[in-house]
């Protein structure tokens, strides 16, 4: 029975899932996640396994709920007044959506990089040191300096800013600011990094640098990236999930989604007929 037929008969859309050729361990398993903004259901029963040490791309037309879903993983939806998340997000046996969970600790484990680079109006050093400071990670000043240095190195920004650590972070170029924000997220040693259209405000060269960085970070972190660029999804991700009007339509290995989409809506979107 085709997916469309199933939807017609049960009133419920079943996601098409294609397994990876090489099995990967699952980092987070989302089960039946619903999100409401007030009375409006923005996300309908989304279930997906996010593989560890890999990049998962969320794609789909504007307003389909990619950011909404991404924000479930570090509970940023809690900061939106009328937003309600239901369902289970199982990260290695722990439910991220459990309301007794300490979101402060969760956000140290699941970091986030935003669409627009948003360095704090502080020095470059203070920007990176912000997270370690509030979580009390650093034992002393030397340790803090070490964390700042390694984070900047991991983000590929060290060489560019090592002589100007005391200058304001807002004085960097857009691409540098975005890598600063990535370094800031890395500094609290998260396990998962969420990126919501991290390159949409950057030029092609800065974009290439960030993409290269994502490729390196994948070795140590689980990464979820929302992007509107088909080519970027193909370049950086191993798995891709296609969202449409609040439904997860199709998910599978990036290659198979782009070369052999099962659903018409997915196919229309990636070939540019739609959206």
């Amino acid at each position: 029975m085709s997916a469309v037929a199933a939807e017609a008969s049960t009133g419920r859309y079943e996601t098409i899932r294609i397994a990876d050729p090489v099995a990967r361990p699952t980092k987070i398993a989302a089960k039946e996640v619903y999100v409401h903004y007030g009375a409006k259901e923005a996300l309908h029963h989304v279930s997906i396994d996010i593989p560890a040490q890999a990049v998962t791309a969320f794609i789909g037309p504007s307003g389909c709920g990619k950011s909404t879903f991404l924000r479930c993983f570090n509970r940023m939806n809690d900061t939106i007044e009328n937003c309600r998340v239901d369902g289970v997000l199982d990260m290695e046996g722990e439910d991220l959506n459990d309301h007794s969970l300490d979101v402060v600790l969760l956000r140290a484990r699941v970091g986030m990089v935003f669409q627009k680079p948003n360095p704090f109006p502080k020095s470059i050093f203070e920007n990176i040191a912000y997270g370690p400071r509030i979580h009390g990670v650093a034992q002393d000043k030397a340790h803090l300096q070490e964390i700042v240095e390694t984070s900047l190195k991991k983000a590929g920004l060290w060489e560019e800013v090592k002589d100007r650590l005391n200058e304001p972070g807002t004085g960097l170029s857009g691409g540098q600011q975005q890598r600063l924000c990535i370094a800031r997220a890395i500094a609290v040693s998260p396990e998962v990094i969420l990126m919501d259209e991290p390159c949409s405000a950057l030029d092609p060269i800065a974009t290439a640098k960030v993409e290269e960085l994502i490729g390196e970070l994948r070795q140590n972190y689980t990464i979820i990236i929302v992007t509107h660029s088909m080519s970027q999804a193909q370049r950086v991700s191993q798995r891709t999930a296609y969202f449409h009007l609040g439904y997860l339509v199709e998910e599978g290995p990036t290659e198979s989604i782009f070369n052999n989409p099962q659903e018409k809506r997915t196919k229309d979107y990636i070939t540019g007929v739609f959206g």
Binding site: V103, R107, F114
Partner: protein
Amino acid sequence: MNTLIVIAVILIVLSLVYQWGASTSRSVARSAGVKMHSRPVYYGLLLVLWCAIPAAVVYVLYSLFAPTIINSMILSYLPADVAGDPQARVSAMSRIQNLASGFGALGDVPDYERQAARALTSLRWTANLAIVALVAVVGVLGTLFARSRIGPEYRARNRVEWAIKALLITCSAIAILTTVGIVLSVLSEALRFFTFVNPIDFFFGTVWNPRFSSTGSGGQGDFGLLPLLWGTIMITIIAMLVAVPVGLMAAIYLSEYAGAKFRFISKPLLEVLAGIPTIVYGFFALVTVGPFFSGIGAALGLDVQATSAFTAGIVMGIMIIPFVSSLSDDIISQVPQTMRDGSYGLGATRSETIRKVILPAALPGIVGAFLLAVSRAVGETMIVVLAAGNSPVLTANPFEAVSTVTVTIVNQLTGDTDFASPQSLVAFALGLTLFVITLCLNVVAIYIVKKYREQYE
């Protein structure tokens, strides 16, 4: 009634002129078979402008100069002895004016006054006729001139735009020029004061004891600014000690913690609070707060006066709270949401985000808001008039009565005043001092706020 009719007539004429301009442009376009540069509206408006502005200028010139001219003509009716004596001349002229206007005059009316009044009546009558005719002619000429220029190439739209700009410039010039005028007049009076009192004695004097001008003899009294300035500063400090913490925390609660509904209700409420007339606060200070504090003081065995720097400062602080919180709330809300997201995304709690990201980012703006609040406190009058006790002494004890610059200005200018005496003129010197202080505060505040705005463009 009469004025209403005149206005109605003018409006009717102008709307006819407008119609004429608009229809002319249409017919020109039709007969020439071309497209006009501007829409008919603009040709109509332009005709109206050409009709009204020159006529208005003529009328304004008339009203500026006509009274003087007419008066000088009437002057010839007065006998030489009356015309020669300024005081007699002024009173005779005003009697004549009253007679001519039909109000009559007290006592005996000499013959020459009656004649002059008759002449004045007829002069006014002719002058009025003449000006109506002149205005009509100028209006018609202006209209005809503009009408003759209507053509496809004529850029009526741009001209109207230009006229609107000129109007706006005139209005802002009026606003600026009045301010300059006020400052200049205060300045000149203050300078007159300094011919009586040495500026050094004024600015650095520690004794304030202006004797009344009527007592006359024996020196002028002491005009030392410092006791008053100190009173102002002390009350301002107390007020800010109340207003800044409370106002700022209220602003933080409103912008960071409160729900949309609470915010929606309380923000306008705060602004209403800021609009309560200060005399009401003064009353409150005098009747309720002052006795309350002195009661507490008595219970503790302290000598607290009911009207004191403390009472005035506390109440003024309460008055300024909404001002501070409203301004700070605006500034805190301007810190971009992405800043908060970035901080929350790193696992910071709400108060950490406020302390470490939002307040530092908003600090310059908040400081600007504080300076504006200070300049309000410095210039505040009614509360201190009622609640500060009006005792111009240099004291460090906030529980004693003090006086401020504003209160003293009120004192020096109420009652019988002789504007040639230093006792009254000192008010201008005080006003000027106050003006300079608040001006400096405002300039610094505006500069800081502006600088802060640029940060997030």
